[in-house]
Amino acid sequence: MILNTNAKNTWCIGCGNFAILNAIKAVINELVAEGLPVENIVLVSGIGCHAKIVDYIDVNSFYSLHGRVIPPATGIKIANPHLKVIGHSGDGDAYGEGIEHLIFAAKRNIDITVIVHNNRVYGLTTGQYTPTSPEGYKGRSTPYGTKEMPMNPLEIMLASGATFIGRGTSGAMESLKKIIKEAIAHKGFSIVDVLQTCVTYYNMYDYYDKRVYELKDHDPYNYDQAIGKIREWDYNKDAKIPIGVFYKRESPVFEESFKPSGAEGRDRSNGIKKILAESV
């Protein structure tokens, strides 16, 4: 399937979002080829450059608000557990304004996938720092450099109970596709932090090229190994940057706590009268 819409793509030439767009389209095609009905896919996005992705893919989508990718994605999954719900979020979205939702989604292990387009800068609002910009980052709101250390969102996710944690980059398409597909296949809350380069405000292609490496001989089911790899690069220090699946764990999913009680279709009017009669 082509999966294109007639929306005109407005991303800057060279933007890392293209890689994510191509990756997710390829993954959707693979999933559909493997038998997933395309109508059962729902994409949710926040606000920012990343969010336009839902305009560019011809599947069900919910173009949400800044910071608010997770709650509607959760609601969609609760209402209809048959749907594959994939959230696309920006780093300002997921780690700034929406971090509480992210933490809670991990805590409750709702079976959704969150792909964070983490370019470590606010693109659409013209280059301000984000929760993962390095210390000293000079943006329009911090002309003398930020005085804050970045957070390591993957460490937060591990602490919050996420059952799948991965990282990819917009510079490594094949591996990105693999990680995203594995994340979607995972039953439970999965997050993939994608180091997505913003060519216009924070061009990190060279930087990542020199440091990024793929995880090898890593056991994602081993917590200690996972935390070690997650801490190897803290979004600030000049270290090697691992990509791949850091952590995986099986655990009951939230939406299954709502078991149908068999009351569907029952006469509610009588049900109400019964409750009232019993309380007289």
């Binding site: 819409t5 007639n6 929306a7 009905p37 109508e39 059962n40 729902v42 949710v44 606000i47 336009k52 839902v54 305009d55 011809d58 599947v59 069900n60 989508s61 919910f62 173009y63 949400s64 608000l65 608010r68 997770i70 709650p71 509607p72 994605a73 959760t74 609601g75 969609i76 999954k77 609760i78 209402a79 209809n80 048959h82 749907l83 509480e100 939702h101 809670f104 709502f258 149908p260 009680s261 068999g262 009351a263 569907e264 029952r266 509610r268 009017s269 049900g271 109400i272 009268k273 409750i275 009232l276 009669a277 309380s279 007289v280």
Partner: protein, 557 residues
């Protein structure tokens, strides 16, 4: 005696709430209709908390200051409320904690060593409340059998223990007066919150999402308990922001959903409200008012959010706002809100206040109008499907994810008919017109509803103008003083035509509101109507019958 008021008071943690329900239930056994006024501070233990149970031969929806019986579990209750007692009033107190000298002026007084009785019976301290009820029942000549039956209905746990302590107090108490038994069917006791919840269920609710906040939290608790009975998905997420956004995700999948909160939580929900307006995602918000600004008086009552709910959210969009005045109206209003939301794909707000939300009423479901559930406007299956197709009424056909052959795109941005973002000026105007056009059709439909109620003497030239929980007290005063009452129930789209009609023959309008600025008055001003006098109260308490009577008499001279 046509009516009887009982005040029971003590500290928070004394079980005043449960006790007041049992008293109302007991009076209900005799055929009386009740309203329970609840007054409690924002504390879990300590402070002063009390309830006034007003029972009457006719339906009541407000309380009186004057009481016929005072049940005092501590000294403070005597000190604070003794002055309310009528000359013939009865006082029953815990002689272990109340100084007998302080009740010496009361003719019908009975002191019982509640604390000692409880100890002797090895019952929990909380059971002083049921113990005092035993004494009270005797004092108004209720038979033991009636009390026994009431207890059996109200206790699933520790029934025997409660009966035992109540029996001891019953046997040692005295008869002072006899309340006649009425030949009336018994009615269930329901809070305004419960009536709202039941109305939502009746109208097809599938999911309820809320973050706890007084006075709406009881809806969350109530529906969580009914989840199995009605196959509801009830969720308490991390914040009100999450509440409404989660609800919108649920709506997107075609499930009827409602959320509940108060002013502070509603502040956080406004972005989701506006999104609902833009993306045409129907959601019902139950907004229980309490005094602000900010945290204000968390457990008290007011009517200060009317203007807020009418204008909340960025941008311009159609919304439905309804403000019921008692439990029956609340049951109807929440049904209507859910129905209208889905029919027009717009947000609806059910505006309650603490007096109504947490007040308890004898509820007559037989007297309530019921909504006939209408099917939502679903897509007919003929491609191409466009989520936001530009129809005459502005309402586009619905389809939900999972349906083959359709792509459903909900969008917070301005968008085209397919739901793809746009900044095109012509499309922007077209889509904005489409969304606003719904209001015209909605307003036309609402012509068929009793959007402005008229009570009292319909020919009187003097009218009390009220909304929300003030309905009950205003109607009683109007009946007493031969006045008319005009009560707008639907606040948006405002039924200006019906309001004008209600004003016919009226030359003096007296607005009665629980706020400092006259919020309904301001709303009607924008439609060119005026009031002649305002009676405002904003100390966190709603009007008692006596207080409003006094203030209305001063205004009408």
């Amino acid at each position: 005696m046509n009516e009887f008021s009982v005040l029971i008071g003590g500290k928070a943690g004394f079980g005043i709430d449960k006790a007041s329900l049992i008293i109302a239930s007991l009076l209900g056994q005799l055929g009386y209709r009740s309203y329970i006024y609840r007054d409690y501070p924002s504390l879990i233990r300590g402070g002063h908390t009390f309830s006034i149970i007003r029972a009457s031969t006719e339906k009541v929806a407000t309380y009186r200051d004057q009481i016929d019986a005072l049940l005092a579990l501590n000294q403070e209750t005597v000190d604070l409320h003794k002055a309310r007692l009528k000359g013939s009033g009865i006082i029953i107190y815990d002689s272990d904690s109340v100084n007998a000298g302080t009740v010496s002026g009361v003719k019908n007084a009975i002191g019982l060593p509640l604390t000692s009785i409880i100890k002797e019976e090895k019952a929990g301290e909380i059971m002083r409340n049921t113990c005092i009820i035993g004494a009270f029942a005797k004092s108004i000549s209720i038979e033991w059998n009636t009390l026994d039956a009431t207890f059996r209905k109200n206790f699933s746990k520790e029934l025997d223990q409660n009966l035992k302590v109540a029996r001891r107090a019953f046997d040692t108490s005295k008869e002072f007066t006899a309340l006649k038994k009425l030949a009336k069917e018994r009615l269930p006791l329901v809070t305004g919150n419960e009536a709202v919840a039941l109305g939502l269920v009746r109208a097809g609710l599938k999911s309820y999402i809320a973050y706890p906040m007084t006075p709406s939290s009881p809806i969350l608790h109530y529906l969580a308990n009914l989840a199995e009975e009605f196959d509801l998905k009830v969720v308490h997420p991390e914040s009100e922001i999450s509440v409404i956004m989660m609800a919108l995700g649920i709506v997107y999948c075609g499930h009827k959903v409602a959320v509940g909160t108060s002013g502070g939580g509603f502040c956080l929900m406004t972005e989701g409200l506006s999104f609902s307006g833009m993306a045409e995602l129907p959601v019902v918000i139950v907004m229980g008012q309490r005094p602000g600004p900010s945290t204000g008086l968390p457990t008290y009552s007011c009517q200060t959010e009317l203007q807020f709910v009418l204008s909340a959210g960025q941008g311009e969009f159609t919304r439905f706002v309804i403000a019921p005045g008692d439990a029956e109206e609340a049951y109807y209003a929440s049904q209507l809100a859910l129905q209208i939301s889905w029919k027009y794909q717009i947000p609806s707000i059910v505006l309650t206040d603490k007096a109504m939300a947490e007040g308890t009423y004898s509820f007559d479901i037989g007297s309530c109008d019921e909504i006939k559930e209408e099917a939502a406007a679903l897509w007919d299956g003929r491609p191409p499907y466009k989520r936001y197709s530009n129809t005459d009424s502005g309402v586009s056909p619905l389809a939900f994810p999972g349906k083959p052959g359709v792509v459903i795109k909900a969008n917070s941005y301005e968008h085209d008919e397919a739901g793809i973002s746009t900044e095109d000026p012509a499309v922007t105007v077209k889509m904005q017109d489409k969304r606003l056009r719904k209001e015209k059709y909605l307003a036309a439909e609402l012509e068929n509803y009793e959007s402005v109620k008229v009570h009292g003497n319909k020919n009187s030239a003097t009218a009390l103008l009220c909304w929300g929980s003030n309905k009950g007290v205003c109607v009683e005063i109007a009946n007493m003083l031969n006045l008319k009452v005009i009560q707008p129930v639907i606040m948006s789209p405002f039924p200006a035509g019906r309001f004008r009609k209600a004003l016919e023959g009226v030359n003096k309008v007296i607005a009665v509101e629980n706020n400092a600025m006259g919020q309904l008055t301001k709303v009607i001003n924008t439609y060119g109507f005026n009031v002649n006098a305002s009676i405002l109260k904003y100390d966190g308490r709603d009007f008692s019958l006596e207080e409003l009577e006094d203030r209305v008499r001063k205004v009408i001279g």
